[in-house]
């Protein structure tokens, strides 16, 4: 018997995906939650008036819904491994700990991406494409940059969220007050990435002159942050599983 890391990784992925296809628990709860946040945005902005240019704050709103939705999902995904001691069964198998980390981070990223694919078009249609340009009172033709840029910025953000989030959720799931602790740990760690992603998204969504330059610079910083944080999470994951 030879240990094949790839076979183990694939088995871990398949297990999470099959369970999700069966229960649809993560994607529905995250998707529904995201929809509710959009409804709250609608209420919050309902008195903003015709002259208010929503595209100026659209990036922030979009990131907000992604962050809150992802925290819900991260917490769920680890609770699944915990309630019948399944994580212990994984640790008893001859699996290298980093494989468990990468598999969990991958499925978290996958589910978050699925929810984003559903929710982001809704967001753009309701809040950005019909936005009024403050100079005139006509309905503006969407001035935003290409959609793939929005997607890229969100992807870089989501990779960081899934990577570091998986590490932090593995800790928080073993504490009193799981989801609260996750928020307390997650938001400060994510702060630099959120700042960078919001400015990349903002550049794309407002489509101001020279937005591409800001966009690429911010994406590069964001990608660097992802790389550092995932490397650190990778190195530290084993310690968390060891107690």
């Amino acid at each position: 018997m030879k240990v094949s890391a790839f076979r183990q990784y694939r088995a871990l992925l398949r297990k999470d995906i099959v369970m999700e296809l069966r229960t649809k628990e993560m994607v529905t709860s995250m998707g529904l939650y995201a929809m509710l946040v959009l409804i709250i945005y609608y209420v919050a902005l309902s008195q903003a008036g015709q002259a208010f240019d929503v595209t100026r704050i659209a990036a922030g709103l979009l990131l907000l819904v992604v962050v809150f939705t992802s925290m819900l999902g991260l917490n769920r995904s680890l609770v699944h491994e915990q309630d019948q001691g399944q994580l212990e069964a994984l640790l008893l198998a001859p699996v290298d700990r980093p494989i468990i980390f990468f598999a969990k981070a991958t499925t978290n990223l996958l589910f978050l991406a699925i929810v984003e694919v559903i929710i982001v078009p809704f967001f753009l249609i309701f809040f950005v494409s019909g936005a009024v340009v403050p100079t005139g009172s006509t309905v503006a033709v969407s001035q935003s940059g290409p959609a793939w840029m929005t997607a890229l910025a969100l992807l870089i953000g989501s990779i960081g969220i899934a990577g570091v989030g998986t590490l932090l959720a593995t800790m928080s799931v073993n504490t009193k007050g799981r989801d609260f602790i996750l928020a307390v740990l997650f938001i400060p760690v994510m702060f630099p990435l959120l700042l960078v992603i919001v400015s990349a998204l903002s550049a794309v969504l407002t489509g101001d002159a020279g937005y591409a330059q800001t966009f690429w610079k911010m994406c590069a910083i964001g990608a660097g942050y992802d790389a550092i944080m995932i490397a650190v999470a990778f190195a530290l994951y084993e310690f968390i599983l060891g107690v």
């Binding site: 800790m171 007050g177 630099p192 650190v232 107690v243």
Partner: protein
């Protein structure tokens, strides 16, 4: 009995720790006090003590003499209150001390993960406690400085706190330290608590070098201390204040460590007496 020997050795080492800490605290205290006195007496107020506003604003600062007003007639130049220069002799050293103890906490976090000795966890925790004290000190002196130097009001200050790179990363450092103690309180098993805390300290510490170097990497309103020239009457108290405050920072940390280890030694001795 070998166990009693160990405890006796423990008492001896606590004594030594305490001696070193007390000496450092005294020397650090004397140096900081000396720097304080020098800052308010011998240090000369430098010429950069003015600040421009785009228009007349409501402030308690006196306008600069007519000869110094901008020649093109736009905006108003105000004199910076002397506090903006005096506070700097403490703000910078306190911030440096906070980085020192934070780094100590991170080093002991790494050591703990490698060696799994509870005393390293205790040291790391005490490092974080001391970091909390010095971070709050930095924030308070920073607010005083900002109010005096940037003509900011409270709402502007709030915005700067999250948009100006140095202030933002430093504010996050404070949030990290608070989050650390929230995490500690929510884990019951002592070893698990120690491991989680150590892991989080290491992740949080990554923010420290970013905060330290960020003013040199991206455009920032925050002054870069070692690049602005200083004359000797300023430089001497500044250096003394730095040395003093770093000593004081370490001394506070070491005193707390000595306190905790004497408590541990006491527990061990008690248990031995009870059998």
């Amino acid at each position: 009995m070998p166990d009693t020997d160990g405890a006796a050795k423990g008492v001896g080492s606590v004594k030594r720790q305490l001696q070193v800490a007390i000496i450092l605290a005294i020397v650090g205290g004397v140096l900081t006090t000396a720097a304080f006195l020098m800052a308010f007496t011998t240090a000369r107020v430098q010429t950069f003590g003015t600040i421009d506003a785009p228009a007349a604003v409501e402030t308690t600062y006196p306008p600069a003499p007519a000869a110094m007003q901008p020649t093109d007639g736009t905006g108003v130049r105000y004199q910076r209150p002397w506090l903006s220069q005096k506070i700097f002799y403490f703000h910078v050293p306190i911030a440096e001390a906070s980085f020192l103890v934070f780094t100590l906490a991170a080093i002991f976090a790494v050591l703990f993960l490698v060696k799994r000795k509870q005393s390293y966890d205790t040291r790391s925790r005490i490092g974080m406690e001391t970091t909390l004290v010095f971070t709050i000190g930095t924030m308070i002196t920073g607010v005083m400085w900002t109010r005096a130097s940037w003509l900011t009001n409270w709402s502007q200050l709030g915005r700067e706190m999250l948009s100006e790179p140095r202030l933002a990363t430093y504010t996050i450092m404070l949030v990290f330290v608070i989050a650390y103690f929230v995490l500690r309180n929510s884990v019951e098993d002592p070893e698990r608590r120690a491991v989680y805390s150590a892991v989080f300290t290491i992740i949080a510490w990554i923010d420290a070098p970013i905060s330290f170097f960020i003013t040199r990497m991206v455009p920032s309103n925050h002054p870069i201390v070692f690049q602005s020239g200083m004359d000797t009457t300023n430089l001497i108290p500044f250096i003394i204040a730095q040395i003093g405050m770093l000593m004081l920072g370490y001394a506070i940390y070491a005193l707390r460590v000595a306190e905790e280890s004497s408590r541990d030694t006491l527990t061990v001795l008690k248990e031995q007496l009870e059998g």
